[in-house]
Amino acid sequence: MSLERKIPIEERLNTNAWDVDQRPHIRIIDPDQCRKCDKKPCLYLCPARCYTPGPDGTVLFSHEGCLECGTCRIVCPENNIEWNYPKSGFGVQYRFG
């Protein structure tokens, strides 16, 4: 993988070791709140791009690449994110933390 270009986030996440739980550990509580939110900081401050724009101003969330940093929980202006750590050791397995 050449470092001479922007490496797409999916490719970067693929270099990590994972043991992903089927059950998501994070949940958007009320999609309507996202629709009303104009800043949507989750879209650009999540370092794993787990949050992507959905239809009608909603936000889609996917937990698979979550790096468990906790940023989304803190920057969500609506407090609209239910945030937990993955259960039973699941999630990202850092080797070079």
Partner: protein, 425 residues
């Protein structure tokens, strides 16, 4: 688990494992509960550990600890799109003051220390909340399990969910934290030695400000390990809303800066990680660092000293863990683990470097959050030097070049900011 322990520690990181080792070695029955698959698998940091705490705790560390390289060079760079100005410190003396490491490996090593002292470390169990009876913390709840103990040491890290859910800390706010995003890039030992002008065991620690965060408060770091470098950016989250591109691309732009690109050339990405870091010191501490049946240590307590150029987390975490253990021993001798007996923890912290340093630098955060430091000043110094070195027959003195290039900054700004920096950092 129907077991009863003397002490339960929430989180097997630098703070929790130090507390556990200290207490287990004094005969306490200690249980450490860790959410990761093994200790270290959820830990991320920038890349350097200050060794002074290890001299006291584990003098054998020089031979044993997973040290990558001993830091001999320090660099501070103010960077724009097309130029940079660097302060480069180097010493020929090999002083074992700080070393680069992978926190994952280092925590695994601390885990071995704690376990060989007799602590029980259980992994893959996230603690949900504390069990509080009549205002006293009597244990922890994890899923359907309840574990009871005389005292609980909370070392859960920056995302202090357990404290928040138990009503012992308010929700973290963006002003108190920064987001670090890091890439570990494999290079050969020879490439690193050559590109950073180092010998085999010598390392470099490098902080950069300005362009890496698109001139917002925060910065970038590069640490040399044996056969990899760690490169990352840190952004104060209170300024996150002003970011003009997604943070996951910000780090790519930094790595692709013409002057960084040549340093990582031919490298291979090994890992991409992210973690929050406390930036407000004691201002980020929970309302109380101890109470009936519990003590708070490490990042969960806000114990990280952030001075922009110097960032120290692991030594503060370990020292707070050691002092928590000492407080528990003293409380045990008094026969009670109530708030009054455990208040000795506060006293020990005040006497140690943990609170002495954090309180000395109580206002560092307010200075470092000033956006001018990362934008106007970075641009000014680079423009000024560029102009100064651009010899074209026009007579230029340093002073007049400065006046010419200071942009929007007034002389009053310069004076005020200089005083604030000198007084508080």
């Amino acid at each position: 688990m129907g077991l009863k322990f003397d002490v339960t520690v929430v989180g097997a990181g630098p703070a929790g494992l130090t507390a556990a080792q200290q207490l287990a070695s004094k005969g306490f029955k200690v249980l450490v509960i860790e959410r990761g698959k093994k200790p270290g698998s959820k830990n991320v940091f920038g890349g350097r550990i200050y060794a002074h705490v290890l001299d006291k705790l584990y003098p054998e560390y020089v031979k044993e600890a997973p040290v990558e390289r001993w830091v001999r060079r320090e660099r501070i760079t103010m960077m724009t799109e097309d130029s940079w100005t660097t302060l480069d410190f180097e010493t020929t003396k090999v002083e074992h003051r700080s070393f680069t490491a992978y926190l994952t490996n280092f925590v695994e090593w601390l885990d071995k220390k704690a376990e060989s002292a007799g602590a029980v470390v259980v992994s893959e169990v996230p603690v949900d909340k504390l069990i509080i009876k009549d205002g006293k913390v009597v244990g922890v709840r994890a899923g359907n399990d309840e574990i009871y103990s005389d005292v609980t040491i909370i070392a859960e890290g920056i995302n202090r969910l357990v404290l928040e859910r138990s009503g012992l800390a308010p929700k973290l706010s963006p002003e108190l934290v920064a987001l670090g995003v890091k890439e570990v890039i494999k290079l050969s030992r020879e490439e690193i030695n050559e590109r950073f002008n180092l010998d085999d065991d010598e390392g470099m620690a490098w902080v950069l400000a300005g362009y890496p965060t698109h001139y917002l408060p925060g910065g970038a770091f590069i640490y040399t390990n044996k056969e990899a470098i760690t490169l990352g950016i840190v952004l104060y989250l209170s300024y996150g809303y002003q970011l003009d591109i997604p943070i996951n691309e910000l780090i790519e732009e930094f790595r692709l800066h013409p002057m960084i690109k040549r340093i990582v050339k031919g490298g291979q990405l090994l890992e991409y990680s992210a973690h929050l870091t406390p930036v407000a010191g004691v201002n980020a501490s929970p309302p109380s660092l101890y109470g009936d049946g519990y003590l708070v240590t490490g990042d969960a307590a806000g114990f990280l000293l952030h001075l922009g150029i110097i960032i120290r987390g692991v030594d503060f975490a370990m020292e707070s863990g050691r002092l928590a253990a000492e407080a528990v021993v003293k409380a045990h001798d008094s026969g009670k683990y109530d708030k009054e007996s455990l208040s000795i923890y506060g006293k020990l912290l005040e006497e140690s470097f943990v609170l002495r340093e954090l309180k000395t630098f109580r206002n560092a955060h307010k200075v470092l959050i000033e956006p001018r430091l990362y934008s106007d000043y970075v641009r000014m110094i680079n423009t000024m030097l560029k102009r100064y070195f651009e010899v074209d027959g026009t007579p230029r003195k340093l002073g007049s070049t400065l006046l010419e290039t200071k942009g929007n900054l007034t002389l009053l700004d310069l004076a005020k900011d200089a005083i604030r920096v000198v007084m508080n950092l």
